[in-house]
Structures are given as structure tokens and as C-alpha cells.
């Protein structure tokens, strides 16, 4: 999708530029990793003394048993009901009173099926499916999270899968039809391909849009303002606290 800049006869008046993100796939610039300093600038100008700070993304570590609360019950019930448990579960994380099961991507549909159908699990409702892009902190940077709700037991569990760019995840639409649009949104925004989805098309962005806007390396647009040819830089290039 490209829009030709209009031919403007008057000098000094900003003309419309190509929409940012028009030609994707080769990002304009990738944020340096790990982040340095405090204000997102390099070279000169930082007299704050914070320029030497280096911030790293912390590694997510698994939680040892017992997990506490109903988490042990859920994990044990899943282990009992799903034969491939040891192989499919990469990590179990308990944080802030929430249970996250990190699943191998190719097993997610099987696990979801067990989570829904097993009597002692009964996660009838798939509340939400969404993506997160862990650029620079995980080699398999695209994560998909599934928030499952058990109305019978009033419990919540999060399933999480991680894939590299170009990887695929089996769709859970046959188990939870509600995932239909939510998987489409995750595809639209992150470019995660769900195999077996009946109609994996864009849902929020226009059909002919290129690129996946919620990815962290998606180039952002600046705002051409009508003041002495000045332009507001894109938000990630402004001098801000990081």
C-alpha cells in the first residue's frame, strides 16, 4: 500500500508522505539491545550520569513445586489426563498469583483439548488470546498467550507458546470457536500463523496492509507539523525515559 505524495505547488507546506510501515519486512532500524542509558539517546548530550546504565531483560525462570493454591491441582490433573505432559510442558511459572504453563507450540491444541474436556480441569471458556513480541529477549520472540477460565471451579490459567518469526502454531478454533477472531487479531498484529484456522485473514488492519504493527521492530511514524518544516520524530526516537 503506497500513496503517492501529492504534488504541492506551494513551498514550505508539508505534503503527505508515504504511510510509515508501507514497505515492511525489512525494518528500518532495530532498537539496540540491550537498552542503554536512560533517555534513549546515544553520542552526545547526556550529562545525566545515567548513560552507562544497561538494562537487560530478565530471564523467565520456572517455579519449583509445590505451586500453591489450586495450581498444584491443575498441574497434577493435566499430568494425569494428558499423556504427553512431560514432553509438552516446557515450564511452569507461578507469578503474582497466576499460573502460566509454557507449552511447546505444536502441542497447544492437544493441551487445550484436555484442559477443556477433562472433568477435573473443565476450562470451558477461552477468555482471551493475544500475542506479545519479546524482541531481543527471547530467540523465539513471538509469544501467544491463552487465558483459560474454568467456570465450574472458578479458576484461571494461562497457556503460553513461543515461536520464532516464521513459525506456526496449531489453531485452537476447533476447541474454542471464540479463538477465531482473536487468533486473526494475533496474526494481524504479530504475524503469528495459526495452522488449521478456517479463515486466517486480517481483522483490524485493512486487508491490503503490509507488516504487523504490534511487533516491536515495526517502524513508527512521525508527525509532519506545519511549523518551519519541523517534524515531530517517531515516539521511539524521542528523548524519553526508558
Amino acid at each position: 500500500m503506497t500513496i503517492e505524495p501529492s504534488e504541492s505547488a506551494t513551498d514550505g507546506v508539508p505534503v503527505s508522505a508515504d504511510p510509515v510501515g508501507a514497505d515492511f519486512d525489512a525494518p528500518a532500524q532495530t532498537p539496540a539491545s540491550p537498552r542503554k542509558g536512560m533517555f534513549g539517546i546515544s553520542g552526545t548530550g547526556d550529562v545525566s550520569g545515567f548513560g552507562g546504565l544497561v538494562r537487560r531483560h530478565p530471564e523467565v525462570v520456572g517455579t519449583p513445586k509445590p505451586y500453591g493454591g489450586y495450581f498444584d491441582e491443575v498441574a497434577d490433573a493435566l499430568e494425569e489426563a494428558y499423556p504427553g505432559f512431560a514432553d509438552a510442558i516446557e515450564k511452569v511459572v507461578v507469578d503474582r498469583g497466576e499460573l502460566t504453563l509454557h507449552i511447546k507450540p505444536e502441542r497447544i491444541a492437544e493441551v487445550a483439548q484436555t484442559m477443556r474436556d477433562d472433568e477435573s480441569l473443565r476450562f470451558e471458556l477461552c477468555s482471551s488470546v493475544s500475542g506479545v513480541d519479546y524482541l531481543n529477549s527471547d530467540a523465539r520472540r513471538l509469544h501467544v498467550t491463552y487465558q483459560l477460565t474454568s467456570m465450574t471451579y472458578r479458576r484461571r490459567v494461562r497457556l503460553e507458546v513461543a515461536i520464532p518469526v516464521g513459525g506456526t502454531v496449531p489453531s485452537v478454533t476447533s476447541i474454542y470457536p471464540t479463538a477465531d477472531w482473536q487468533e486473526r487479531e494475533t496474526y494481524d498484529m504479530f504475524g503469528v500463523v495459526f495452522t488449521g484456522h478456517p479463515n486466517l485473514t486480517r481483522v483490524l488492519m485493512p486487508d491490503d496492509w503490509e507488516g504487523h504493527p504490534q511487533r516491536k521492530d515495526y517502524p513508527l511514524g512521525g508527525v509532519p507539523v506545519e511549523y518551519k518544516g519541523a517534524e515531530i520524530p517517531p515516539p521511539d526516537q524521542r528523548r524519553v525515559y526508558q
Partner: protein
């Protein structure tokens, strides 16, 4: 025996015999109507008054019967989730409040609860802040349901209902304006509490409203409930049972109209909802009529909660005590809208340099949130509003996803409308109460 357009005929030894029967319209139209097998594709929207904003429905019609519906959304996508990633955590409320513009305080509440859970300060939220949140969320629920009643009334031909619904909503918007400074998009709830206290004048207005609205509700019921047209347009229309709701992820009044009393305020309480007396209204008809009755009953239940919240409102702080999170200045509503209180400005400019530095750092930099992710869900007027918030330890959200009930619920339109009449698409779609600002974000 063969069939012509008008009478069945049969060859006998005496010759051809016609059997004429009267009024057999099915036979007649079936044989003569050349249009009956012709499918028409109709684009409803995105600028159709009955589509609640910019929703587009691609309908495949056979006569007046809907064969296939394909909802197309995204016309109101404004990138709220992406924008959040370039603002600090407190500024986030300014963005999320604009998602579902008929229930702005719910977006703020969901977001703030998620940030507070990430910070680990859920227990430190003061009693008064929680009560104010409940109070305003319930008022907002009433105003949202009133708009539903108004727009649905208009779409089904009850224009006066539209006028009444919007008229009563104005009272609530006045209360919001009195307290937050704005009628919509308040940014009133902040991570850690609420932006400012409720003035006495607003409390008085709420008390008046508690007396005023029940009378009006009675009027709506007198006008609609017994009316034949209203019943014909809603009863048995757009049926979706519990199984359908759960598999499609439909929550809120639509699920409750099918008979399942699932309300997060009861089943997974937050903001102290477990301390309030209220019922979860349900219906068993699973149709538009049931949803109408559930929403009317919910307005009454919300009034009960508002009354209890007013009684529970005790003087006290409205923000967490932690000065690393709490906004340093009390905001005050000035003549020109919201602003810092003059006393605070006098203090930081005249006496305390440290206060000024602290204020400056908190406003420009914001606070840091320990890394991790949470999912918080609250009962929105349209169902479960989920906020999935991820922090990488910085002053900005790393990722915030709003699981908006309008977005998920709209998936039910094909299940409700296919095989029914075109007019029922309007009734069924309206009964989901979709708000496209929330759906498209």
C-alpha cells in the same frame, strides 16, 4: 400426477382431471417466483445507523432470509494498545478510556487493576478509593445500559425510547463531569487510586438520581414491555443458548439471558464487590427479549449497589500511601477544567525544592513496574473485559492487550442471524450491544 402453477392434474381414462384447491401459496410462489433462487449480497454498513458505529455486515440474502453473514470490523482501529507502549503507566489510562467510549470507567478500572497487580499493591488500595471506583463503575453501567436501551429502541422503531434513554444518561454524565471534569474519557481512575475526591455536590446529585431513575424505569417498562410490536420484534429472536455462548466466548448480559448466572462481580470479585448486596439477574429465553429484561434488571441492581456504596463512603485517602507511586498533588477542578491545587503549587514553588523534584520525576518519568505479566478481568456492561499487561521492568507498559467484550461478542452475529429474517439481524446485533470503539481499539 403432475403439478402446474394453479392445480394438480392427473391423467385418467376419462381424460385429464384437475384438482383445484385454494390458497396454496407455497405451491404457487414456488413455481412462479423466478427470484426465489436468486441470492443477493447486501452490504450493511459501515455507515448504517443501525450498526452501532462503524460495523459492516456482508449479508447474503435469499428473499428476506439471511443465508450468510460476515461481520467486518476494524474501521475504528486507533492503535490504542500500541500507543500505550510509548507512554508511562499512568498516562495509559488516558488511552484505554477511549477504547469503549460508552463504558470508559471500566476500561480504566481494568487497566488500573492490572497495573496494581503488577506492582503488587492491590491490597494497599484504600477503602475510599475502592468504594469510589465501585460507585462510578455502577453509575457507568447504568449509563451504558441506558444507551443500549435508547439505541435498541430506535433500531426497533421506538424512537421515543431513544430520546428518553439519552436524556437520563445526561444526568449521569453531569455527575461524572462534576467529579472528573469530563463527561467522557475521564482518565479518572489511576494506578493506585482515583485522580481526585468526589465533591459533596456530586454526592447530592447521585442521591437525587437514585430517586429519579426508578420512576423513569417504570415508564420505560410501561412503554415497551407490554407493547405488541416490541414483543414481536424481540421474543424468540436471535436465540443463542448457553452452549453457543460459551463456545463463542460470549459473556455478560447475553450469557445471563441464556440462564447462566456468570457475573465476575460475584464469581471472581474485585474492588470489594463481595461486600455488596445485589443479585445477578438472569432470563431463560436466550433471546433479545431476555437480554432486554436482564439489562433492565441490572440497572436496578446497579442502583442498589450505588446506594450501598454511598453509605459506605467514609472520609479517607483516595490514593495509596506509597509516595513513589502516588501523584504528589491533589488535583482540583478549576474554572478551566482540571488542574493542580493552588496550595500544592505554592508549596513546591515556595518552600520545598525536594517536593518539586519529586513531582517532576514522577510526572515526567513515572514509576517503574517490576517485570512480569498479569491478566485481570472485570465485569463490563457487555461482558468480560480482560486486561493482559506485560512489564519489562520499565516506566512504560511493554504490552497491554484489552480483551474487549464487544470484539468477542460480535462473533455471535452469524450464529444468531443465519436462517432468520433480515430485520432480525438488526435486533440480534443490537442485543449484543457492540461498541466499535472497544471492538476495534
Amino acid at each position: 400426477m403432475t403439478q402446474s402453477g394453479y392445480a394438480s392434474e392427473r391423467e385418467t381414462t376419462e381424460g385429464r382431471v384437475f384438482t383445484v384447491t385454494g390458497g396454496d401459496w407455497d405451491t404457487l410462489t414456488g413455481s412462479v417466483d423466478p427470484l426465489s433462487n436468486e441470492k443477493i449480497v447486501v452490504n450493511m454498513g459501515p455507515q448504517h445507523p443501525s450498526t452501532h458505529g462503524v460495523l459492516r455486515l456482508v449479508l447474503e440474502l435469499e428473499g428476506e432470509t439471511v443465508q450468510e453473514v460476515r461481520p467486518v470490523v476494524g474501521y475504528l482501529h486507533t492503535g490504542i494498545e500500541k500507543n500505550l507502549e510509548y507512554r508511562n503507566w499512568t498516562q495509559g489510562t488516558t488511552f484505554v478510556t477511549r477504547a469503549d467510549y460508552l463504558a470508559p470507567l471500566f476500561n480504566e478500572a481494568g487497566y488500573c487493576l492490572a497495573v496494581e497487580k503488577l506492582l503488587g499493591i492491590t491490597d494497599q488500595i484504600t477503602e475510599r478509593a475502592n468504594t469510589i471506583r465501585v460507585l462510578f463503575m455502577e453509575l457507568n453501567r447504568i449509563s451504558s445500559h441506558l444507551v443500549w436501551l435508547a439505541t435498541t429502541g430506535m433500531e426497533l422503531g421506538a424512537i421515543s425510547m431513544m430520546l428518553y434513554g439519552f436524556r437520563e444518561r445526561e444526568y449521569i454524565l453531569d455527575i461524572f463531569e462534576e467529579t472528573t471534569g469530563l463527561r467522557m474519557n475521564h482518565a479518572y481512575f489511576r494506578p493506585g487510586g482515583v485522580a481526585q475526591d468526589v465533591p459533596e455536590s456530586a454526592i447530592k446529585k447521585i442521591r437525587d438520581f437514585l430517586v429519579y431513575l426508578p420512576k423513569k424505569l417504570k415508564e420505560y417498562e410501561d412503554m415497551l414491555t407490554g407493547q405488541v410490536i416490541w414483543q414481536e420484534r424481540t421474543k424468540g429472536v436471535a436465540v443463542l443458548d448457553v452452549t453457543g455462548c460459551l463456545s463463542l466466548g460470549i459473556t455478560g448480559p447475553v450469557l445471563r439471558s441464556a440462564g447462566l448466572a456468570w457475573d465476575l462481580r460475584k464469581t471472581m470479585p474485585y474492588c470489594g464487590y463481595e461486600n455488596y448486596e445485589f443479585d445477578v439477574p438472569t432470563a431463560t429465553t436466550a433471546d433479545v427479549w431476555g437480554r432486554y429484561q436482564v439489562r433492565l434488571a441490572e440497572i436496578r441492581e446497579s442502583l442498589k449497589i450505588v446506594e450501598q456504596a454511598l453509605d459506605r463512603l467514609r472520609p479517607g485517602p483516595i490514593f495509596v500511601a506509597d509516595k513513589k507511586i502516588a501523584w504528589p498533588a491533589q488535583l482540583a477542578v478549576g474554572l478551566d477544567g482540571m488542574g493542580n491545587s493552588l496550595e500544592h503549587v505554592a508549596k513546591i514553588m515556595g518552600q520545598s525544592m525536594e517536593s518539586l523534584i519529586h513531582h517532576f520525576k514522577l510526572v515526567t518519568e513515572g514509576f517503574r513496574v517490576p517485570p512480569g505479566q498479569v491478566y485481570v478481568a472485570i465485569e463490563h456492561p457487555r461482558g468480560e473485559l480482560g486486561v493482559h499487561a506485560v512489564s519489562d521492568g520499565g516506566t512504560h507498559p511493554y504490552r497491554v492487550h484489552l480483551r474487549d467484550p464487544s470484539f468477542v461478542n460480535l462473533q455471535a452475529i452469524p450464529a444468531m442471524a443465519e436462517g432468520a429474517l433480515l430485520a432480525d439481524v438488526i435486533a440480534g446485533g443490537a442485543s449484543l450491544d457492540p461498541v466499535m470503539g472497544g471492538c476495534d481499539r
